[in-house]
């Protein structure tokens, strides 16, 4: 099992979409490596022939009737929106309009 470098910590923070300060990154580097050390015990176990368990209650394919029913109204769905325009959530533009503006 690996040791995390500062660059690894920054990479994982980017994957997790966490904006961290330099101080946070530094502390996390030490803490995460300390925690990863605790994971090493698992290597003692030979699990080659052991199937993984994702959930414990052996349920399969729970289905229900696909019947239309009442749902949230547009206003309810947008009631927590930090910014709303008409019936939409507002986010910064993600497409370049071609005029140089993002």
């Amino acid at each position: 099992m690996a040791t995390l470098s500062r660059a690894d910590v920054e990479h994982v923070a980017h994957l997790a979409r966490l904006g961290l300060t330099g101080e946070e990154l530094e502390r996390l580097e030490g803490q995460l490596n300390h925690i990863l050390d605790q994971y090493r015990v698992l290597a003692e176990l030979d699990t080659e022939a052991i199937p993984p368990t994702a959930q414990t209650i052996e349920l399969e394919n729970i289905l229900r009737e696909d019947v239309p029913g009442p749902s949230l109204t547009v206003d309810e769905a947008l009631s927590g929106a930090p910014e709303r325009a008409g019936d939409h959530f507002v986010v910064p533009a993600v497409l370049d309009a071609g005029d140089g503006a993002a």
Binding site: M1, A2, L4, D8, V9, V12, A13, L15, A16, R17, L18, G19, L20, T21, E23, E24, R27, L28, Q31, L32, H34, I35, Q38, Y39, R40, V41, L42, L45, T47, I50, P51, P52, T53, A54, Q55, T56, I57, L59, I62, R64, L72, E76, A77, S79, G80, A81, P82, E83, F89, V91, P92, A93, V94, A102
Partner: protein
Amino acid sequence: MSASSADPTRLHVREMAAALRQGSLTARDLAAAHIGLAHRQDRALNAWVFFDDERALAAADAVDRRIGQARRKGTLDALPLLHGIPVALKDLVVTRGRPSTAGSRILEGFVGTYDAFIAERLDAAGAVVIGKTNMDEFAMGSSTEHSAWGPTSNPWALDRVPGGSSGGSSAAVAAFHVPLAIGTDTGGSIRQPAALCGVVGLKPTYGRVSRYGIVAFASSLDQIGPFGRDVRDAAALLQVVAGRDEQDSTSAPVAVPDYLAALPDSDDEAASSLKGRRLGLPREYFVKGMEPGVEEAVRAAVGALETAGAEIVDVSLPHTDYGLATYYIIAPAEASANLARYDGVRYGLSVRDGDVLADYLATRGRGFGAEVKRRVMLGTYALSAGYYDAYYVKAQKVRTLIKGDFDRAFESVDALVAPTSPTVAFPLGARLEDPVAMYLSDACTLPVNVAGLPGLSVPCGLSEGLPVGLQFIGRAWDEAGLFRLGRAYEAVTATAAWRRLEPTDLPRLDDPSTPAAAERLERAGRSGAGV
């Protein structure tokens, strides 16, 4: 004793229910007594993050009207037991028109647009929800110090933690602010705070209670359960919230028995149920770092069960020591996926910082606290390319081994009996800077979540003046068996001196010179807000 002249907050649920039906107590007076006490003491305790006084009193008035009608019609017996009983919800139970923050700044100001399944069930039963309780952020923690709204204190010692993550619920029940509270337990978050606050807490079998409307932490481990001051109270709350719900595909189509019917009021009858029961004592649960006073109390409790006729069998759960690592891979991995939804676009905190990516980084960087960031980082790493097999799949395989340990043990015993927590409540701040020490708080509880089994913590005495918890672990779906064991243990220790004690620091909660919980943490030289 007339219930109306005594302090109604000290009653058991069954006594409150009887007083309401007799007319010696109104639901409004019952609600008002609890609300008043909670308001008065919460500056020092900080068990609550939201009070819903108006709605609670209106609900209580409606209960009183229905009781009046039922009395006229002679149908009082048909009213649900929880009719008019005050209840607290952990602050991750979404309710319509009410805030739920899950202890996180990223959900500050979030207002629910629908009711969680269990909130609907409680409303339908006539329970009076008086507010929401403090918790570690997104239920990640064992001390309730990782709350964006400051730590909760332990009513037995205000400079100590109540446990966590459901520490607001356990402290509120211990301090008589409510007789019942809802918690969630992903690795011990009901049982450990129940133990540290000297109350009863049950983590049901995975799938017993619908998680619809509960803020998710680790979806293959999370389960909702009750807190109460005795086993029958806790059982009454599980009765209302248990059962299949189409809105949660992991809630199981398994029949829910009548829990209270199997829990006798007579101590003799309850104790006699121990005769011939085979209880396994897992030797690995007496872990390194267990406090001698805790071990002594737990072994004395096991001795009392044996004296009353239970057969104590030494058993081994050989993979117990791998539980911590297994849990701290699986739970953060699932959390990192579940918490991806907090993006600052649809609800909750939103920090604008340029483009969409910059918004995500700023919102999540500012909105999540230290422990949540650690776990999201761990989980993201464990799931990332190149490490998925080494960590996540490996942990899922060890999960199979841990579950197998329990399966084998239950071939020869009816239930397991063990400590709930290796220590009593620890001082505020003591483990904040050492995540691994904090994680070890749950060494005796998290294997039970990994295996999806039910676990019940009941008080079993004091060590150094602080409560110790005894844990019963059962086969899947055997909550009824655990309640019977817990009730039997209560019966055989009914006359124990410690049972008559109220939490030591309750008088200090009424003293205006007592500092608030957050001040006590600051004095301890630590702050939960930073990484």
